[in-house]
Symmetry: C2
Subunit: 246 residues, 2 copies
């Protein structure tokens, strides 16, 4: 089955987002490495930063394979996290770790959900790229240690709620501004939704992807509420893993 | 020929410096990527940053192979470029590029010269690691473009002179503080000096490395002036490559 030009354009729209997020993860992890409390953290975070560059480049290679311009695909999302960053300036090392864990957690979940609508090669790549959980493991280990203190826990739980609010705001803007991402979300097989417990609302009636720009608004709203339900559920799981109230 | 414990300690002293410089190059390149003028530069500099992490890790692996603690070896040089960075805050993108090109150029030359006194495996590694000239190529290409303007050229030439002064100051402090590095420089085969034209002062009478802490001062001074002559000659070559007056 050959992808239509419209399908390829949508795939590039998502791959550009994933590439931009990996690039921003690089920048963020490098900045975190610069202020990390120990040499071990500096080393570890610099390795994560380098790994994000490698992941970004694999995604950019796929964009080129699809015949599109990698830098133009990324450029669609220039400044995508500027608001998020400006509103979530961390005050402590733990808040800093949580910012990446939650902020990129939500963004990655969004990309993972949209990836279900991609061609098989692109989907496998995105899923593999987003599955790198090393930073999450560091965050969990560190925040576990921090979490033994109730006052710190309460503060971090609050911070987590602020982060998820801002992160969902980013997703909201993406959904409004980038119809290709919405089409990919809609194109997901119905079975996909079962991965998130408690979110068994009916899948939107995706009628294929050929009619670009012609999707009706009602299913979009339905899809949107389903999407935010799924993202919130994943966030809750993530916070629970840290022993924090979502 | 097995290395003596003293020789191994000296090797670790140099490898720690190379690892620290690669780590600092990562941090610097990541920061440069964050303020680069175009997406192409951001991408390219992030790749250089990632490559510096990989190079640092290869050097740290060698430290571990030699039975020493990689982080402790790096920690010998914590803050080694703090003064240099504080005194050479670049004002323009070109000054920024030149800062890395010249600053790390001098530091790399110093490490390359000292590497001649290393065991063969360590020496081959250091030479290979320091031979990665990708950033230099970027700097040269960019500064070439900048250099067509005489006023910019004059300004950059001045900047280069300031940079090399500060960089030689860093080397001066290293030579004073880390006798292991001086022993490695002294242990170079006499032929090594022929790689730098016009610096044919006699090699210091290195009497082997077994008598740690027992080296006389006279050859150290001689070696020091020879060293700075070599570093300055390399700097001049580097500036000439840019069409700038050293």
């Amino acid at each position: 089955m050959t992808a239509t030009p419209a399908e390829t354009a949508d795939a590039v729209e998502l791959l550009g987002l994933v590439a931009q997020l990996e690039h921003l993860a690089f920048a963020r992890l490098a900045a975190d490495a610069a202020v990390a409390p120990t040499a071990e953290h500096r080393i570890e975070l610099s390795r994560f930063a380098a790994a994000a560059v490698a992941r970004r480049d694999r995604v950019l290679d796929r964009v080129a394979e699809l015949g599109a311009d990698p830098l133009a695909a990324m450029a669609l999302y220039d400044g995508v996290l500027d608001d998020f960053d400006a509103r979530t300036e961390p005050n402590t090392w733990w808040e800093r770790l949580l910012t990446v864990y939650v902020g990129y957690g939500v963004a990655d979940d969004f990309c993972r959900l949209a990836a279900a609508g991609l061609d098989e090669t692109s989907r496998a790549l995105v899923v593999e790229v987003l599955d790198d959980a090393e930073h999450a493991d560091l965050a969990v280990a560190e925040l576990d240690a921090a979490g033994t203190d109730t006052a710190v826990s309460a503060r971090l739980a609050l911070w987590g709620r602020r982060l998820v609010g801002e992160a969902l705001g980013v997703v909201q803007r993406l959904v409004v501004q980038r119809p290709g991402l919405v089409r990919l979300l809609d194109a997901r097989p119905t079975g996909e939704s079962t991965t998130v417990a408690g979110q068994d609302t009916a899948a939107p009636g995706a009628a294929g992807q050929s009619a670009v720009g012609e999707r009706t608004q009602a299913p979009a709203n339905q899809a949107s509420s389903k999407l935010f339900g799924e993202l919130t559920a994943q966030h809750t799981r993530r916070m629970t893993r840290l022993g924090l109230t979502a």
